[in-house]
């Protein structure tokens, strides 16, 4: 008697699966979910791109208008222009005209995962009108219920719903046959359980991987939200492989549960519990562990410190003393040359900004350290659950992970300081010599270096995304192989 050739066995199992109406119903439902998720993702990315384009337009408009004013004011005129109306004045431009933005552009794979995007901005305006206490201002919180459930994005479908679809497809293979008695007919043939299980679960893995990876590709193509890939092809390929491995890992879980020979109802119950454990309980536990490992600094203390700093500066005599100290540090011989310097509004403002910055430096630093620690621990802890491994890889590729947001907020703060460093000497120079540059002209005309104003350099985490995708692929592969090996070991004999 010849032993069943494996490809023929696989073909027979494939036909069996594709004959089932349930298979097509599951694939159709999955496809619908993927398309909806890709569509909402594409919509979100489009809105982010629009916001960033509007920010760029706004910056250009501000410079264009400043230049026009520069030309207009270069002719003598009887009108009077105050510094807060004057974009040719370094302080006036910095404070009231410049439209500087820190932006976090979506990556080419941004529609894969909303991540933190729903609660964190993609664009923040750098303002010198007020001194900010926190860089991580969140706005437009939206529906609290939606926040709890998470956005219906591709990551949600792929990480949470795909395992359910795989369980629906593969969860009762062999155990349903055991219940119906077909398994005894199968077992009576000259073939061992390993071969049959390999064919059955191999076939279902083929169908599931094709459905999930193909369906995701189709949904992405239909939504049309992928940017030009430009160097992100490897990451995309790694993610596709990681996704396929994630699907195979869940098929392996199904196979392992089938090898317990407990029947279909028990198998489904075990699988759903496993799903809840891996996708919900474990990540929730990891979140709690993260809070313990990287405790959050007190926001109350930071707010209190900022209020104290404000109160201190607004006490007339204290504010004057702080301003004088700052001015004498910046321009040591100011007292001789220009005693009224400390009365100048721009000097007061610069001194106040520097004072707040320094007063809150510790708090800002501890928040930054917390963000770094939380991000580092997140990456480590995520490795403990296949769901968080894949979710993190998708979010990192999408550029919507908490780490990138933290970096972005820090970069925004650094950009603000860079702008201040750029303007400070120019403002000081003008303050030291507060004579209009042009006789009879209405404006100051002292500042025209609009092109030299530092631009924000957005970070595109391409290397991080690629590394994270590779790590995810490696871990998921190891997990899938381990489960397959366990199943292989268990399946020595048919149940009697």
């Amino acid at each position: 008697m010849s032993v069943a050739r494996f490809p023929r066995l696989l073909g027979a199992e494939l036909r069996l699966i594709l004959r089932e109406r349930l298979t097509w119903a599951i694939i159709a439902a999955l496809l619908a979910a993927l398309c909806l998720a890709a569509w909402t993702g594409a919509d979100r990315v489009a809105r982010e791109r629009t916001a960033i384009a509007e920010a760029a337009d706004d910056s250009e408009r501000a410079v264009r208008e400043a230049r026009a004013a520069h030309e207009r004011y270069a002719k003598p005129s009887p009108i009077k222009v105050n510094y807060w109306q004057d974009p040719t004045d370094a302080f006036g431009f910095m404070t009231y005209f410049m439209a500087a933005y820190a932006v976090k552009p979506p990556t080419p794979l941004a529609l894969l995962a909303a991540g933190q995007s729903d609660v964190q901005p993609a664009v923040t305006k750098i303002s010198f009108g007020f001194s900010t206490v926190f860089d991580d201002t969140a706005y437009e919180l939206g529906s609290a219920a939606r926040l709890k459930l998470g956005p219906f994005d591709l990551a949600f479908v792929l990480v949470y719903l795909v395992p359910l679809a795989v369980i629906a497809l593969a969860g009762t293979r062999l155990s349903a046959e055991q219940d119906s008695g077909v398994l005894r007919m199968i077992a009576a043939q000259p073939v061992g359980p390993r071969r049959v299980a390999a064919a059955k679960f191999g076939a279902v893995a083929l169908v599931a991987v094709t459905g999930v990876v193909g369906g995701t590709g189709l949904a992405l193509a239909l939504a049309g939200g992928l940017g030009p890939l430009a160097g992100w092809e490897t990451t995309l390929a790694l993610l596709a492989a990681a996704l396929a491995t994630y699907v195979m890992l869940w098929v392996a879980v199904c196979a392992l549960v089938a090898s317990l020979w407990r029947g279909a109802v028990a198998a489904l119950a075990i699988l759903v519990l496993t799903w809840a454990g891996i996708t919900m309980v474990l990540p929730t536990g990891l979140g709690i562990a993260l809070d313990a490992l990287a405790p959050m600094p007190s926001r109350i203390a930071a707010i209190d410190a900022s209020r104290q700093a404000q109160a201190l500066f607004s006490t007339a005599e204290k504010g004057a003393r702080i301003t004088a100290a700052w001015a004498s540090r910046k321009v040591p011989d100011a007292a001789q040359h220009r005693p009224a310097l400390v009365e100048a509004p721009e000097i007061k403002r610069l001194a106040r900004d520097a004072f707040y910055d320094e007063a809150l430096a510790d708090h800002r630093e501890s928040w930054h350290e917390h963000a770094l620690a939380a991000s580092a621990w997140s990456r480590r802890l995520a490795l403990l659950s296949p769901a968080t491994i894949l979710a993190l890889a998708l979010e990192t590729a999408a550029g919507t992970d908490a780490g990138r947001h933290a970096d972005f907020l820090t970069a925004g703060g650094a950009y603000r300081r860079r702008l201040r460093t750029f303007f400070e000497p120019r403002i000081l120079a003008q303050a030291m010599n507060p004579v209009p540059v042009c006789a009879g002209c209405p404006a100051r005309l002292g500042f025209d270096a609009y092109d030299a104003v530092p631009a924000f350099e957005p970070a595109i985490p391409r290397a991080t995304a690629q590394r994270e995708a590779l790590v995810a692929l490696g871990c998921l592969l190891a997990g899938a192989l381990l489960l397959t090996a366990l199943t292989y070991r268990r399946l020595t004999e048919w149940p009697s």
């Binding site: 069943a4 119906s180 077909v182 043939q189």
Partner: protein, 252 residues
């Protein structure tokens, strides 16, 4: 149509198809088989008689290699079923008490599926011929098996056995739940297989069919065969007497 039997070397044909020697099988404290001996040659039909729980299915499980004997040996065509179950099953066709099929597949598709598991590539035409030979009406062959009666499902099982050209056919309570004409049909099919050299082991308590089908009858009691008789030498009533006597001994 008849499936051609393989030509066997004379020596092999003389060897027993099934040889069970002093097989012991325990489930915990319970001894299901206690030194069972049974030898079956090509073309023989052996009926294993015994009440529920006598160990008939356990015997079949040992032959299929689903269970391993705690002592003794179970050989199918010289292959140890305990250590090489896949090899042993290569010679065995088994029709369980309840033949279960994939309900969504037709008889033809079910037959082809099980044939694939056995390493055979059956064409649709060959499948039709086998099913017809097994007695499944042509018009039923393409219908989903969900609509089949127990007898019809059993016929698909017979067709699998025919396709496999197995040298040993195991039947577990084959006629229970069949109507009389289906049971008579089944007897004919089994006799037919035996005439072509297949050894048949049927576990049953249907005394009437036993006389009709079997060449030998073994009564299973306390985990061993206590009586090995030629049913033709006894009439139906005598057989029943003997059986009830044995049953009484068991329960005593």
């Amino acid at each position: 149509m008849h499936i051609e039997q393989r030509e066997l070397p004379q020596a092999e044909a003389d060897n027993p198809v099934l040889a069970i020697r002093a097989a012991v099988k325990r489930f915990g404290a319970r001894t299901a088989l206690n030194g069972l001996d049974l030898t079956l040659r090509a073309g023989e039909v052996f009926a294993l008689l015994g009440p529920n729980g006598a160990g008939k299915t356990t015997t079949i499980n040992l032959i299929l290699g689903f269970l391993k004997p705690d002592a003794g040996a179970v050989q199918v065509c010289g292959i140890e079923a305990g250590s090489d179950p896949v090899g042993a099953r290569g010679h065995v066709a088994y029709i369980p008490e309840q033949v279960a099929l994939y309900p969504g597949l037709s008889g033809i598709e079910n037959l082809r599926y099980f044939a694939t598991l056995a390493g055979l590539d059956l064409s649709v035409d060959a499948s039709r011929r086998l099913l017809t030979e097994a007695g499944l009406p042509e018009e039923a062959q393409g219908r989903p098996a969900a609509s089949y009666s127990k007898g019809m499902r059993q016929k698909v099982g017979i067709a699998v056995a025919l396709a496999r050209q197995a040298r040993l056919l195991l039947l577990d309570e084959p006629t229970s739940g069949l109507d009389p004409s289906a049971a008579a049909d089944f007897s004919v099919t089994v006799r037919h297989a035996a005439e072509r050299g297949t050894a048949v082991l049927m576990a049953t308590h249907d005394l009437y069919r036993v006389r009709e089908m079997a060449d030998r009858v073994g009564v299973l009691s306390r985990g061993r065969i206590v009586e090995d008789i030629d049913p033709k030498t006894l009439d139906h009533v005598a057989l029943e007497h003997l059986y009830i006597e044995r049953l009484a001994e068991i329960t005593a």
